[in-house]
Amino acid sequence: MRPKKDYVRPLDIRNGRVDMGHGAGGRSAAQLIEELFLAAFDNPMLRQGDDGAALPMPAGAKLVMATDAHVISPLFFPGGDIGSLSVHGTINDVAMCGAAPLYLAASFILEEGFPLADLQRIVQSMARASRAAGVPVVTGDTKVVEQGKGDGVFISTTALGVVAAGVNIAGANARPGDVLLLSGTLGEHGVAVLSQRESLDFETAIESDSAALHGLVAAMLAASSDGVRVLRDPTRGGLATTLNEIARQSGVGMLLDESAIPVLPQVEAACELLGLDPLYVANEGKLIAICSPDAADAVLAAMRAHPLGAKAARIGVVTQDAHRFVQMETNFGGRRVVDWLSGELLPRIC
């Protein structure tokens, strides 16, 4: 008897759901990887199908590695989803070290019962973001947890990048007199996500600013490779928390000019309504640069010439302050401390 030709019924992506078998390492798991993940991320390194990816690296390069877990709720939000976010977020972490990102690794923790159609949507969005950024996903892993033990899907990504010679960017590099540059308007990501939370459900046209920032960073470093001292993306905790982190690392204070900080009117209005302060709301496509005073103009001009930095602004200066306070001259003419975010971002009630 001649053996029958191999036939595997394709995944029922339209109606199917993740089941425990998809994480068990058998045929079913292999099929999920082949038909859903590999189909989306397809590239020679991933296609090797080994336990890890063997990667070519530039000789003598200084490597940067960053990892980030993504647990956002809701999974889909205006301007993005957990897939695109998991690519942008980790690329940005590498870019904030002044590195050019080269490769991504991704781990998925899927909850039993999660619709395959949603998973495909997320993975395809992730693949689009990775292709647009020019950073391929070269290795990955999938696990399935029982229903009720996950929140649909969690994605953990790791990125590897290289730093060019002569670039030295670190949170401890800020010096008194340095200039603070911000690449654009604050708060869109946080407000877009909040607007989708079940308990709020307000209608808004505000979209997340989620974007990969390595192109912008490259343009800034081309304008001045040694004048950019600190780069940081103000994600959770917003601008306020990020600046406090840098102030602590560098042992300096900062003085902001509120009138120079760009915020979209619709974000300002949403924050007003919800009792939030845009300085503490998360961003996913903005960066702060601390530059030496003589390089600041050139770096700012390079930022403004890049699509992701068109609204870049000079928002303050680094000060000498043993207490490491971040202070702000208010629009109103007073001065106040801009403190760390405490606890979760909670709205005021009346």
């Binding site: 007199g177 202070q327 007073g334 106040r336 403190d339 009346c350």
Partner: protein, 382 residues
């Protein structure tokens, strides 16, 4: 933002500041209490104290709803979530109020309590509709501003015959608290607590009108200026208070005429009195028992009253001994007078309730103003 930016105009603020400097008599001190947390927040966030003359001092009052919530009340909400299996819904700031045994609603949630943050009492009602098999309790706190929505929610629950919804009512009343502060022995005994006048509540006054303040303005000879929550409102109100003090007047004046009239919102008042009645006494954090200062649910709506429904027994719990929240809420002490301010007690780890909400006197000072305590100036060196 149109209609809001007009009230945040720095150029006008500087003009009012110049008038204040011209009119405040250099030979005396002015101390004004802003009752509301909303004003405290505006003063801190916009740096208003820096614009006032040195002899005009703002004293932060007890009008921050989570600050005056006594430990025993939060304990009841935690008990409902952890021991009775109820879904407890509440406003955001309430989640972090310190309760007994090192707990708070946030920490009780981490121990498995089903505690959910809502933006409106109507959201709690919606949860009750969606989960008919669970008891859903709305932990209702706040002054007159948040009371009408709670009343409306209870009335809707009654109309719909919802069998699984109730309210743990902790609504409190502003005029009773102000009177209590003025009548408190230390305020009367020591001239050292010189409250020369009050910045009157904004949103509360929209509901109750300006008339309820007239009695104690006359009785205690203290001027009251009702003011909006925008920074220019506060500046203008302070100027009006300085003028009243200079002219030895003690009237109720209304700076917030765009929203407040003498008698308030009659429709909301009727709704509140349909559902609620006065409690003979209620414990306030920092102020202790204050007679006729809070509301409870009327017997006609008893099945929506979580205290009756679950047979809850209130147990008062003393504050941490080192905590000065009480004296701070009465305006007798400043946050920096407290030994644990900024060391043991911080917004990350609040010991006292004034450190919880950004409307609380301690949190506002810690988050926005503490650079002043150190006397540093942070100027660019280059």
């Amino acid at each position: 933002m149109k209609y809001i930016d007009e009230f945040r105009d720095g150029a006008i603020a500087r003009k009012i500041a110049a008038r204040l400097r011209a009119e405040a008599r250099p030979d005396r001190q002015y101390s004004f209490m802003e009752f509301c947390g909303g004003h405290t927040h505006a003063i801190s966030r916009y740096g208003i104290s820096g614009l006032l003359p040195d002899n005009v001092r703002m004293v932060h009052g007890p009008g921050c709803p989570v600050c005056v919530l006594p430990i025993g009340r939060t304990d009841l909400a935690i008990q409902l979530a952890l021991e009775r299996g109820a879904i407890v819904c509440t406003y955001g700031d309430t989640m972090r109020v310190p309760a007994s045994g090192g707990l708070s609603l946030t920490r009780a949630k981490a121990r498995g309590g089903d505690i959910r943050m809502v933006y409106s009492s109507a959201d709690a009602l919606e949860i009750a509709r969606r989960e008919p098999g669970r008891e859903v309790v709305f932990f209702a706190i706040g002054f007159e501003t948040t009371t009408p929505p709670t009343a409306l929610t209870i009335r809707m629950a009654a109309q719909e015959g919802l069998a699984n919804f109730s309210v743990l009512c902790c609504h409190v009343l502003t005029p009773a608290a102000i009177t209590h502060i003025l009548a408190s022995p230390e305020v009367r005994r020591f001239a050292a607590v010189p409250i020369d006048g009050f910045v009157g509540p904004a949103h509360v006054s929209i509901l109750i009108g300006s008339a309820p303040y007239e009695q104690f303005a006359q009785g205690y000879r203290k001027p009251v200026v009702i003011a909006g929550f925008e920074p220019l409102d506060v500046m203008q109100a302070v100027l009006m208070l300085v003028r009243q003090v200079n002219e030895d007047r003690h009237e109720v004046e209304n700076e917030f005429t765009r929203a407040v009239n003498r008698h308030g919102n009659a429709h909301a008042q009727a709704l509140v009195s349909e559902v609620f009645e006065l409690r003979s006494s209620f414990e306030w954090r920092g102020l202790g028992e204050v007679p006729q200062s809070a509301l409870r649910i009327r017997p006609a709506f008893a099945r929506f009253d979580a205290e009756r429904r679950f047979g809850l027994a209130y147990r008062a719990v003393a504050d941490n001994k080192a905590c000065e929240c009480g004296a701070i809420l009465r305006g007798v002490k400043k946050p920096t007078d407290c030994r644990i301010f900024g060391s043991v007690c911080t917004p990350e780890n609040p010991v006292g309730s004034c450190m919880v909400s950004s409307e609380g006197a301690c949190a506002a000072h810690y988050s926005y103003g503490r650079f002043k305590d150190i006397g540093i100036t942070a100027e660019a060196t280059a």
